[in-house]
Symmetry: C2
Subunit: 205 residues, 2 copies
DNA sequence: CAAAAACTTTTTATATGTAAATAGTTTATT
DNA sequence: AATAAACTATTTACATATAAAAAGTTTTTG
């Protein structure tokens, strides 16, 4: 009945959904695994839809993820970017295709809603960083924020679905580091580049 | 009966397929539009499959496209890249989603075959260019050809299908120029960068 | 002989039905 | 009072049927 009980259910179900997908985790499964009866389960959630929705809400509000990151105030745009990339790497590694697949198939409205939310937040983060970097003189003054932002989002979404890297047997980490460097050099100004080189160990692992 | 007659049919049908897709262009349509009878048409092609195949072959062998580009010998890696990008831009603008959609749906084997071919050629071109650029000292010596090549291919494929740019109303040309610059700066070495700056008007329009 | 039309066969899209799986509800049990 | 089990109602997946469209063939006509 308590709010915490509900939250705990959501938290547990989240794990199940992420591991096995949404379809194959039945309400019976949930009840069994959590050691509660379906009756109790249905006292907290009117139907499965609501449960799925709650899990999605929970996921989007995970503190300090790519989507909710609060940057420490004293960072410059390059440091922010580094921080942001580590969150992205984490996101990619936690990414479960089966979960997304089921979501798209059985709850398309939900998928669209949360995907839009994800995009909006991502775009805001990236765009702000670009603007900041330009203001600090660390990024090229001639770059088009709108385009680069969208390219970055596109790359992020594609990298999670493409089969292009499959046959090459390259680790996500290696790919991601290469992207990071490629991205960095792609946007920095001369001043930014000098700063990069000065902190070589930090940025260009 | 002549080889040229056949080629002409293929050439015309190619245009029809690219404009209207494959499914909606029936064999009757083809006969009508080309002013020939189906009987004649079926004397040149045993069935529609063969016609589709011929069109695909024709497309992949278009001289001096992205897939068949022969680089002039006296170019350095940067000039090559510039040349290659203009071919890519052309490719994107000629790209017809409806055609690809039908191909994927009704001739999945064909799609796979030609897509694989496309990827192989594309990868070869890009990789060779990267290797050349490194050898010339124009590109960063630390970049990983395999990853950057695949990233480039991925970006190319994604840009043709993504909806991320739709709401922004940015022209393909603008997007492509930005990508080109982003890409250039992402891979050049200091020497390469100096060369870029010297030829600013040529590379960074 | 080649185009046009008429014709047959095959493919595609759509609809319907059915069985299995799962959601959601009620009853029994501790 | 909450779980477990039994039950009903939906949903989903899969199979089959049917009609329209298009492929492919034959006949007619200029």
């Amino acid at each position: 009945m308590t709010e915490t009980k509900r939250n705990e259910i959501v938290d547990q179900v989240k794990k199940l959904y992420l591991e096995f997908g949404i379809k194959s985790v039945t309400m019976d499964d949930v009840a069994h695994k959590l050691g509660i009866s379906k009756k109790t389960l249905y006292e907290h959630f009117t139907d499965k839809k609501q449960l799925v929705w709650s899990v999605l809400e929970c996921l989007t509000n995970t503190p300090n993820s790519v989507l909710t990151a609060n940057m420490p105030k004293n960072m410059n745009a390059l440091e922010e970017l580094l921080h942001y990339y580590s969150l992205q790497l984490e996101m990619i590694q936690n990414h479960k295709p089966g979960f997304i697949y089921d979501l798209k198939k059985y709850y398309p409205r939900f998928f669209e809603h949360f995907n839009k939310l994800k995009r909006t937040r991502f775009i805001t983060q990236v765009r702000n960083n670009l603007i900041k970097g330009k203001a600090e003189g660390l990024f090229r003054s001639d770059l088009d924020e709108e385009i680069i932002t969208r390219l970055t989002l596109m790359r992020m979404e594609c990298i999670m679905t493409t089969d292009i890297f499959l046959d090459a047997d390259i680790s996500n980490i290696k790919i991601f580091n290469e992207i990071f460097r490629f991205h960095l050099f792609g946007i920095v100004s001369e001043k930014g580049r000098k700063l990069l080189e000065k902190n070589n160990d930090k940025f260009i692992a």
